[in-house]
Subunit: 142 residues, 2 copies
C-alpha cells in the first residue's frame, strides 16, 4: 500500500483523494470487484466521483500490473487486486468467486501440434463449482 503510493509519486502521477480511496479499497481486497462495485464504494466518501475516474484508475493500475482483469463474467469485467498469478473457482449458482493459489503449470503441458502453432506465455484456470451456501439452498428446496 505505502509502496504503491510511493511508486505513484515516483512515476510522476498525481495522487488524488479519489485515487487514494480506490487504492485503499483495493489494497488487500480478496473480492473480485467490478467497476461498479468500486464506484459505489468510493461514492460513499466522494459523492461526485465519476465512472471515468474509476475506469481510468483501473486502466493505469492494470498497465502497472497492480490489478488484473479476470475473464469469468461476460456481463461485466471483474478486477483482481492480487496480481500474483493464481486461478479462480466460480459458483455456478451465485457467481461467488474464490481464489485458487496452486501452481499447476508443470501439469499443463500443451500437445506438440499446439506448441508448433502458438508460443505459450501463460494460462489461467476457471474452476466451476457450487458453494456451501448454494448447496444448502438446493437441499432446502428438495
Amino acid at each position: 500500500m505505502k509502496e504503491l503510493i510511493e511508486k505513484y509519486k515516483e512515476r510522476g502521477f498525481k495522487l488524488t483523494p479519489q485515487r487514494l480511496a480506490i487504492l485503499k479499497f483495493l489494497d488487500g481486497n480478496t473480492s473480485h470487484p467490478t467497476a461498479d462495485d468500486i464506484y459505489r464504494q468510493i461514492k460513499k466518501d466522494y459523492p461526485t466521483v465519476s465512472f471515468a475516474t474509476v475506469y481510468n484508475t483501473l486502466q493505469m493500475l492494470q498497465k502497472k500490473g497492480e490489478v488484473a482483469e479476470i475473464t469469468i463474467d461476460h456481463q461485466k469485467k471483474h478486477y483482481d487486486p492480487n496480481p500474483k498469478p493464481h486461478h479462480h473457482i466460480i459458483c455456478i449458482s451465485c457467481n461467488k468467486i474464490g481464489d485458487v493459489f496452486e501452481d499447476y503449470s508443470e501439469a499443463l503441458r500443451l500437445p506438440y501440434h499446439i506448441e508448433e502453432e502458438f508460443k505459450p506465455v501463460g494460462s489461467h484456470i476457471n474452476f466451476y463449482g457450487i458453494c456451501r451456501g448454494c448447496q444448502k439452498k438446493h437441499k432446502r428446496r428438495n
Copy 2:
C-alpha cells in the same frame, strides 16, 4: 447435423430456414464465432435475418448443450459449436483462438480448503500464447 435436425423436430421446435442456415454454419465449424460473425454470414442468404433470431437460436442451442459460450473476450461473447469439453489457447496479439483437446482433469486437484467451500463440477483452461503469424510480424518489426 442430420441428428440435430431430427432432435429439433422431435422436441417440437420448428425448423425454419434461418435456423437451418445457422445450424449449417455451426456444424463442424472449428472457429469460435461471435453472434455478429454468425449474423453476417446468415445475412448473405437471408438478408432480412435479425440479431434476435441469431441470439434466440444460440440460446436454444446452449440450453440443449449443442453449443457453449466461451469466456475469453470481455467485449463480445464467443460461441463454440463443439460441445465436447476442451480448452482453448488465445493469441494475445490477434486474439486467434485454438482448441486444446487434452484432458488435464486428473492433474487439476483442488486444495482441500477449497473443496470444503465448493463442490467442484468442472473446469476450463485458457492458455495464452503468440501465434505463428504474430511471431513473424513481431520479428519483422525488429
